[in-house]
Symmetry: C2
Subunit: 201 residues, 2 copies
Protein backbone atom coordinates (compact mmCIF):
# COMPACT_ATOMS: atom_id res chain seq x y z
CA UNK A 1 0.00 0.00 0.00
CA UNK A 2 2.97 2.28 -0.39
CA UNK A 3 2.91 3.56 3.16
CA UNK A 4 6.10 1.73 4.05
CA UNK A 5 7.77 3.18 0.99
CA UNK A 6 6.63 6.71 1.75
CA UNK A 7 7.88 6.43 5.31
CA UNK A 8 11.19 5.14 4.12
CA UNK A 9 11.38 8.06 1.72
CA UNK A 10 10.53 10.52 4.48
CA UNK A 11 13.20 9.02 6.72
CA UNK A 12 15.71 9.32 3.93
CA UNK A 13 14.69 12.92 3.37
CA UNK A 14 15.24 13.98 6.97
CA UNK A 15 18.53 12.13 6.95
CA UNK A 16 19.58 14.12 3.92
CA UNK A 17 18.34 17.32 5.51
CA UNK A 18 20.49 16.68 8.56
CA UNK A 19 23.52 15.96 6.40
CA UNK A 20 23.02 19.07 4.29
CA UNK A 21 22.67 21.24 7.37
CA UNK A 22 25.75 19.63 8.88
CA UNK A 23 27.71 20.20 5.68
CA UNK A 24 26.72 23.86 5.57
CA UNK A 25 27.66 24.36 9.23
CA UNK A 26 30.98 22.58 8.76
CA UNK A 27 31.89 24.79 5.81
CA UNK A 28 30.88 27.87 7.82
CA UNK A 29 32.37 27.19 11.23
CA UNK A 30 34.85 24.38 10.68
CA UNK A 31 34.33 20.71 11.44
CA UNK A 32 35.65 20.99 15.00
CA UNK A 33 33.31 23.82 15.95
CA UNK A 34 29.97 22.27 15.03
CA UNK A 35 27.96 20.59 17.78
CA UNK A 36 25.08 18.16 17.57
CA UNK A 37 22.96 20.92 19.08
CA UNK A 38 23.95 23.26 16.25
CA UNK A 39 22.82 20.70 13.71
CA UNK A 40 19.59 20.02 15.61
CA UNK A 41 18.85 23.75 15.69
CA UNK A 42 19.58 24.12 11.99
CA UNK A 43 17.10 21.42 10.97
CA UNK A 44 14.63 22.46 13.70
CA UNK A 45 14.49 19.05 15.33
CA UNK A 46 15.51 17.99 18.81
CA UNK A 47 18.90 16.59 19.78
CA UNK A 48 17.38 13.17 20.27
CA UNK A 49 16.08 13.05 16.71
CA UNK A 50 19.59 13.45 15.35
CA UNK A 51 20.48 10.30 17.25
CA UNK A 52 17.55 8.47 15.72
CA UNK A 53 19.06 9.05 12.29
CA UNK A 54 22.75 8.73 13.17
CA UNK A 55 24.29 6.44 15.76
CA UNK A 56 26.72 9.12 16.89
CA UNK A 57 28.74 12.10 15.68
CA UNK A 58 31.25 9.85 13.93
CA UNK A 59 28.42 8.46 11.81
CA UNK A 60 27.55 11.98 10.65
CA UNK A 61 31.18 12.76 9.91
CA UNK A 62 31.56 9.53 7.98
CA UNK A 63 28.41 10.08 5.94
CA UNK A 64 29.61 13.56 5.09
CA UNK A 65 33.06 12.30 4.19
CA UNK A 66 31.37 9.91 1.77
CA UNK A 67 29.44 12.79 0.19
CA UNK A 68 32.74 14.59 -0.29
CA UNK A 69 34.20 11.61 -2.12
CA UNK A 70 31.14 11.46 -4.38
CA UNK A 71 31.79 15.06 -5.39
CA UNK A 72 35.51 14.48 -5.93
CA UNK A 73 34.76 11.36 -7.94
CA UNK A 74 32.35 13.21 -10.21
CA UNK A 75 35.04 15.80 -10.88
CA UNK A 76 37.56 13.07 -11.70
CA UNK A 77 35.15 11.32 -14.04
CA UNK A 78 35.14 14.35 -16.29
CA UNK A 79 38.84 13.71 -16.85
CA UNK A 80 38.10 10.40 -18.51
CA UNK A 81 37.60 12.41 -21.67
CA UNK A 82 41.29 13.34 -21.64
CA UNK A 83 42.78 10.58 -23.72
CA UNK A 84 46.47 11.08 -23.13
CA UNK A 85 47.21 9.51 -19.74
CA UNK A 86 49.96 11.98 -18.89
CA UNK A 87 47.69 14.92 -19.64
CA UNK A 88 44.98 13.20 -17.60
CA UNK A 89 47.35 12.76 -14.67
CA UNK A 90 48.42 16.39 -14.83
CA UNK A 91 44.82 17.58 -14.99
CA UNK A 92 43.82 15.30 -12.11
CA UNK A 93 46.32 17.08 -9.89
CA UNK A 94 44.77 20.41 -10.76
CA UNK A 95 41.29 19.08 -10.05
CA UNK A 96 42.42 17.65 -6.71
CA UNK A 97 44.07 20.90 -5.62
CA UNK A 98 41.09 22.93 -6.79
CA UNK A 99 38.70 20.70 -4.84
CA UNK A 100 40.74 21.09 -1.65
CA UNK A 101 40.92 24.84 -2.20
CA UNK A 102 37.16 25.17 -2.62
CA UNK A 103 36.21 22.77 0.18
CA UNK A 104 38.93 22.93 2.81
CA UNK A 105 36.82 21.63 5.68
CA UNK A 106 35.44 18.81 3.58
CA UNK A 107 38.94 17.97 2.42
CA UNK A 108 40.07 17.81 6.02
CA UNK A 109 37.25 15.43 6.83
CA UNK A 110 38.10 13.22 3.86
CA UNK A 111 41.86 13.00 4.33
CA UNK A 112 42.94 14.18 7.78
CA UNK A 113 40.32 13.83 10.48
CA UNK A 114 40.36 10.47 12.24
CA UNK A 115 36.61 10.20 12.92
CA UNK A 116 35.59 8.66 9.56
CA UNK A 117 38.35 6.04 9.92
CA UNK A 118 37.15 5.23 13.45
CA UNK A 119 33.65 4.77 12.10
CA UNK A 120 34.88 2.42 9.38
CA UNK A 121 36.92 0.42 11.87
CA UNK A 122 34.03 0.17 14.34
CA UNK A 123 31.84 -1.45 11.71
CA UNK A 124 34.62 -3.59 10.26
CA UNK A 125 34.32 -1.91 6.89
CA UNK A 126 36.89 -0.96 4.30
CA UNK A 127 37.76 2.57 3.26
CA UNK A 128 36.24 2.09 -0.19
CA UNK A 129 36.21 5.81 -0.93
CA UNK A 130 39.95 6.08 -0.49
CA UNK A 131 40.53 2.77 -2.22
CA UNK A 132 38.67 3.97 -5.33
CA UNK A 133 40.41 7.32 -5.40
CA UNK A 134 43.85 5.79 -5.04
CA UNK A 135 43.08 3.22 -7.73
CA UNK A 136 42.19 6.08 -10.04
CA UNK A 137 45.61 7.63 -9.52
CA UNK A 138 47.40 4.28 -9.75
CA UNK A 139 45.63 3.45 -13.02
CA UNK A 140 46.65 6.77 -14.52
CA UNK A 141 50.25 6.14 -13.53
CA UNK A 142 50.09 2.64 -15.04
CA UNK A 143 48.59 4.04 -18.25
CA UNK A 144 51.47 6.50 -18.39
CA UNK A 145 53.94 3.67 -17.99
CA UNK A 146 52.29 1.75 -20.83
CA UNK A 147 53.13 4.55 -23.25
CA UNK A 148 56.70 4.87 -22.06
CA UNK A 149 56.70 7.26 -19.14
CA UNK A 150 58.19 6.55 -15.69
CA UNK A 151 60.78 4.06 -16.88
CA UNK A 152 62.44 2.28 -13.97
CA UNK A 153 59.65 3.17 -11.55
CA UNK A 154 56.94 1.06 -9.91
CA UNK A 155 53.37 2.24 -10.21
CA UNK A 156 52.18 1.74 -6.65
CA UNK A 157 54.89 3.62 -4.76
CA UNK A 158 54.94 6.28 -7.46
CA UNK A 159 51.19 6.75 -7.19
CA UNK A 160 51.53 7.12 -3.45
CA UNK A 161 54.31 9.64 -3.97
CA UNK A 162 52.16 11.76 -6.26
CA UNK A 163 49.12 11.53 -4.03
CA UNK A 164 51.26 12.45 -1.01
CA UNK A 165 52.64 15.44 -2.83
CA UNK A 166 49.34 17.03 -3.76
CA UNK A 167 47.86 16.03 -0.40
CA UNK A 168 50.78 17.62 1.39
CA UNK A 169 50.46 20.82 -0.63
CA UNK A 170 46.78 21.11 0.26
CA UNK A 171 46.87 19.96 3.85
CA UNK A 172 49.75 22.26 4.81
CA UNK A 173 47.65 25.19 3.60
CA UNK A 174 44.58 23.97 5.44
CA UNK A 175 46.53 23.41 8.66
CA UNK A 176 47.86 26.97 8.26
CA UNK A 177 51.48 25.82 7.93
CA UNK A 178 52.11 27.12 4.40
CA UNK A 179 52.03 30.89 4.89
CA UNK A 180 55.62 30.98 6.17
CA UNK A 181 56.84 29.98 2.69
CA UNK A 182 56.13 33.49 1.44
CA UNK A 183 54.55 32.01 -1.66
CA UNK A 184 51.42 33.66 -3.01
CA UNK A 185 49.67 30.38 -3.76
CA UNK A 186 51.86 27.51 -2.54
CA UNK A 187 50.00 24.54 -4.05
CA UNK A 188 49.65 26.17 -7.48
CA UNK A 189 53.27 27.28 -7.67
CA UNK A 190 54.66 24.03 -6.31
CA UNK A 191 52.47 21.93 -8.59
CA UNK A 192 53.79 23.91 -11.54
CA UNK A 193 57.28 22.75 -10.56
CA UNK A 194 56.05 19.18 -10.45
CA UNK A 195 54.62 19.48 -13.96
CA UNK A 196 58.03 20.60 -15.15
CA UNK A 197 59.56 17.55 -13.47
CA UNK A 198 57.01 15.23 -15.07
CA UNK A 199 58.21 16.32 -18.50
CA UNK A 200 61.64 14.92 -17.68
CA UNK A 201 60.38 11.47 -16.75
Amino acid sequence: MGVTERKAREKEELRSLILEAAMRLFAEKGVENVTIRNIADAVEYSIGTIYVYFKDKNAILHALHTKGFAELRSRFLVLMHVNNPMERLKAAGHVYIQFAHENPEMYNLMFSIIAPMDFIETWNNEWNEGQATFSFVRDMVQDCMKIGYFGGHSALPLAYMIWSMVHGMCSLVISRRASITGLENPPAEAYAEFLRILDKL
Copy 2:
Protein backbone atom coordinates in the same frame (compact mmCIF):
# COMPACT_ATOMS: atom_id res chain seq x y z
CA MET B 1 69.90 36.73 48.29
CA GLY B 2 69.24 34.08 45.66
CA VAL B 3 65.72 33.29 46.81
CA THR B 4 64.18 34.91 43.75
CA GLU B 5 66.49 32.90 41.53
CA ARG B 6 65.74 29.63 43.31
CA LYS B 7 62.00 30.25 43.02
CA ALA B 8 62.31 31.04 39.34
CA ARG B 9 64.27 27.81 38.92
CA GLU B 10 61.64 25.83 40.81
CA LYS B 11 58.88 27.33 38.68
CA GLU B 12 60.78 26.40 35.57
CA GLU B 13 61.24 22.88 36.90
CA LEU B 14 57.56 22.27 37.51
CA ARG B 15 56.79 23.74 34.12
CA SER B 16 59.16 21.23 32.56
CA LEU B 17 57.69 18.45 34.64
CA ILE B 18 54.22 19.27 33.34
CA LEU B 19 55.46 19.34 29.76
CA GLU B 20 57.29 16.04 30.10
CA ALA B 21 54.23 14.37 31.59
CA ALA B 22 52.06 15.84 28.85
CA MET B 23 54.46 14.61 26.17
CA ARG B 24 54.46 11.11 27.62
CA LEU B 25 50.67 11.04 27.82
CA PHE B 26 50.31 12.35 24.27
CA ALA B 27 52.62 9.68 22.92
CA GLU B 28 50.69 7.02 24.87
CA LYS B 29 47.08 8.03 24.31
CA GLY B 30 47.18 10.45 21.38
CA VAL B 31 46.99 14.22 21.57
CA GLU B 32 43.19 14.31 21.34
CA ASN B 33 42.68 11.93 24.24
CA VAL B 34 44.70 13.66 26.93
CA THR B 35 42.86 15.93 29.36
CA ILE B 36 44.14 18.59 31.71
CA ARG B 37 43.05 16.31 34.53
CA ASN B 38 45.21 13.49 33.14
CA ILE B 39 48.22 15.78 33.14
CA ALA B 40 47.43 17.07 36.64
CA ASP B 41 47.18 13.48 37.89
CA ALA B 42 50.45 12.51 36.21
CA VAL B 43 52.43 15.29 37.91
CA GLU B 44 50.44 14.90 41.15
CA TYR B 45 49.29 18.50 41.26
CA SER B 46 45.79 19.93 41.10
CA ILE B 47 44.03 21.08 37.95
CA GLY B 48 44.34 24.69 39.05
CA THR B 49 48.12 24.43 39.29
CA ILE B 50 48.36 23.49 35.63
CA TYR B 51 46.61 26.76 34.86
CA VAL B 52 49.13 28.65 36.97
CA TYR B 53 51.88 27.44 34.65
CA PHE B 54 50.00 27.51 31.34
CA LYS B 55 47.33 29.95 30.25
CA ASP B 56 45.25 27.22 28.64
CA LYS B 57 45.50 23.90 26.82
CA ASN B 58 46.67 25.58 23.63
CA ALA B 59 49.66 26.96 25.53
CA ILE B 60 50.65 23.43 26.54
CA LEU B 61 50.21 22.16 23.00
CA HIS B 62 52.27 25.03 21.64
CA ALA B 63 55.09 24.54 24.15
CA LEU B 64 55.16 20.86 23.27
CA HIS B 65 55.13 21.59 19.55
CA THR B 66 58.19 23.79 20.15
CA LYS B 67 59.95 20.94 21.96
CA GLY B 68 59.25 18.75 18.95
CA PHE B 69 60.86 21.24 16.61
CA ALA B 70 63.92 21.41 18.87
CA GLU B 71 64.32 17.65 18.50
CA LEU B 72 63.80 17.73 14.73
CA ARG B 73 66.26 20.59 14.42
CA SER B 74 68.93 18.71 16.36
CA ARG B 75 68.51 15.78 14.00
CA PHE B 76 68.81 18.07 10.99
CA LEU B 77 71.95 19.72 12.38
CA VAL B 78 73.78 16.40 12.19
CA LEU B 79 73.28 16.56 8.43
CA MET B 80 75.43 19.65 8.19
CA HIS B 81 78.35 17.26 8.07
CA VAL B 82 77.14 15.95 4.74
CA ASN B 83 78.99 18.21 2.34
CA ASN B 84 77.29 17.41 -0.95
CA PRO B 85 74.02 19.36 -0.92
CA MET B 86 72.14 16.77 -2.96
CA GLU B 87 73.20 14.01 -0.58
CA ARG B 88 72.24 16.28 2.31
CA LEU B 89 68.81 16.89 0.81
CA LYS B 90 68.26 13.18 0.27
CA ALA B 91 69.34 12.38 3.82
CA ALA B 92 67.14 15.14 5.23
CA GLY B 93 64.12 13.44 3.73
CA HIS B 94 65.02 10.21 5.46
CA VAL B 95 65.53 11.99 8.76
CA TYR B 96 62.17 13.76 8.41
CA ILE B 97 60.31 10.55 7.61
CA GLN B 98 62.08 8.71 10.42
CA PHE B 99 61.16 11.43 12.91
CA ALA B 100 57.50 11.28 11.91
CA HIS B 101 57.56 7.50 12.13
CA GLU B 102 59.03 7.52 15.64
CA ASN B 103 56.90 10.39 16.97
CA PRO B 104 53.59 10.32 15.13
CA GLU B 105 51.62 12.23 17.75
CA MET B 106 54.31 14.85 18.08
CA TYR B 107 54.48 15.13 14.30
CA ASN B 108 50.75 15.69 14.20
CA LEU B 109 51.07 18.44 16.77
CA MET B 110 53.86 20.10 14.82
CA PHE B 111 52.34 19.98 11.34
CA SER B 112 48.62 19.20 11.44
CA ILE B 113 46.86 20.22 14.62
CA ILE B 114 45.54 23.77 14.60
CA ALA B 115 46.02 24.54 18.31
CA PRO B 116 49.66 25.67 18.13
CA MET B 117 48.80 28.00 15.23
CA ASP B 118 45.88 29.42 17.21
CA PHE B 119 48.23 30.06 20.11
CA ILE B 120 50.72 31.86 17.85
CA GLU B 121 47.97 33.97 16.31
CA THR B 122 46.49 34.87 19.69
CA TRP B 123 49.80 36.33 20.83
CA ASN B 124 50.60 37.92 17.46
CA ASN B 125 53.71 35.82 17.07
CA GLU B 126 55.32 34.25 14.05
CA TRP B 127 55.69 30.53 13.42
CA ASN B 128 59.46 30.67 13.85
CA GLU B 129 59.78 26.91 14.21
CA GLY B 130 58.22 26.31 10.81
CA GLN B 131 60.06 29.24 9.30
CA ALA B 132 63.43 27.83 10.38
CA THR B 133 62.61 24.33 9.19
CA PHE B 134 61.43 25.52 5.80
CA SER B 135 64.49 27.74 5.42
CA PHE B 136 66.63 24.70 6.03
CA VAL B 137 64.96 22.86 3.15
CA ARG B 138 65.03 25.94 0.90
CA ASP B 139 68.74 26.48 1.55
CA MET B 140 69.51 22.88 0.66
CA VAL B 141 67.58 23.27 -2.58
CA GLN B 142 69.44 26.49 -3.35
CA ASP B 143 72.78 24.82 -2.63
CA CYS B 144 71.80 22.06 -5.03
CA MET B 145 71.01 24.64 -7.68
CA LYS B 146 74.39 26.28 -7.19
CA ILE B 147 76.14 23.09 -8.23
CA GLY B 148 73.94 22.57 -11.25
CA TYR B 149 70.89 20.64 -10.09
CA PHE B 150 67.27 21.68 -10.64
CA GLY B 151 67.90 23.67 -13.80
CA GLY B 152 64.83 25.66 -14.85
CA HIS B 153 63.25 25.43 -11.40
CA SER B 154 62.73 28.05 -8.68
CA ALA B 155 63.93 27.23 -5.20
CA LEU B 156 60.96 28.37 -3.15
CA PRO B 157 58.16 26.49 -4.92
CA LEU B 158 60.42 23.48 -5.34
CA ALA B 159 61.22 23.47 -1.62
CA TYR B 160 57.52 23.60 -0.86
CA MET B 161 56.93 20.75 -3.29
CA ILE B 162 59.52 18.56 -1.58
CA TRP B 163 58.30 19.44 1.90
CA SER B 164 54.72 18.74 0.84
CA MET B 165 55.72 15.38 -0.55
CA VAL B 166 57.40 14.05 2.56
CA HIS B 167 54.75 15.68 4.76
CA GLY B 168 52.02 14.06 2.70
CA MET B 169 53.67 10.64 2.92
CA CYS B 170 53.90 10.89 6.69
CA SER B 171 50.58 12.54 7.45
CA LEU B 172 48.58 10.10 5.32
CA VAL B 173 50.04 7.26 7.38
CA ILE B 174 49.31 9.06 10.65
CA SER B 175 45.75 9.87 9.61
CA ARG B 176 45.35 6.17 8.74
CA ARG B 177 44.73 6.87 5.04
CA ALA B 178 47.75 5.01 3.65
CA SER B 179 46.91 1.38 4.41
CA ILE B 180 44.64 1.08 1.35
CA THR B 181 47.67 1.43 -0.90
CA GLY B 182 48.69 -2.11 -0.06
CA LEU B 183 52.27 -0.94 0.39
CA GLU B 184 54.29 -2.42 3.22
CA ASN B 185 55.87 0.89 4.18
CA PRO B 186 54.37 3.64 2.02
CA PRO B 187 56.67 6.55 2.95
CA ALA B 188 59.84 4.50 2.57
CA GLU B 189 58.85 2.98 -0.76
CA ALA B 190 57.51 6.22 -2.18
CA TYR B 191 60.53 8.20 -1.03
CA ALA B 192 62.74 5.69 -2.80
CA GLU B 193 60.90 6.59 -6.02
CA PHE B 194 61.55 10.24 -5.35
CA LEU B 195 65.26 9.59 -4.91
CA ARG B 196 65.27 7.95 -8.31
CA ILE B 197 63.56 11.03 -9.75
CA LEU B 198 66.08 13.35 -8.12
CA ASP B 199 68.85 11.65 -10.03
CA LYS B 200 67.25 12.76 -13.28
CA LEU B 201 67.11 16.44 -12.33
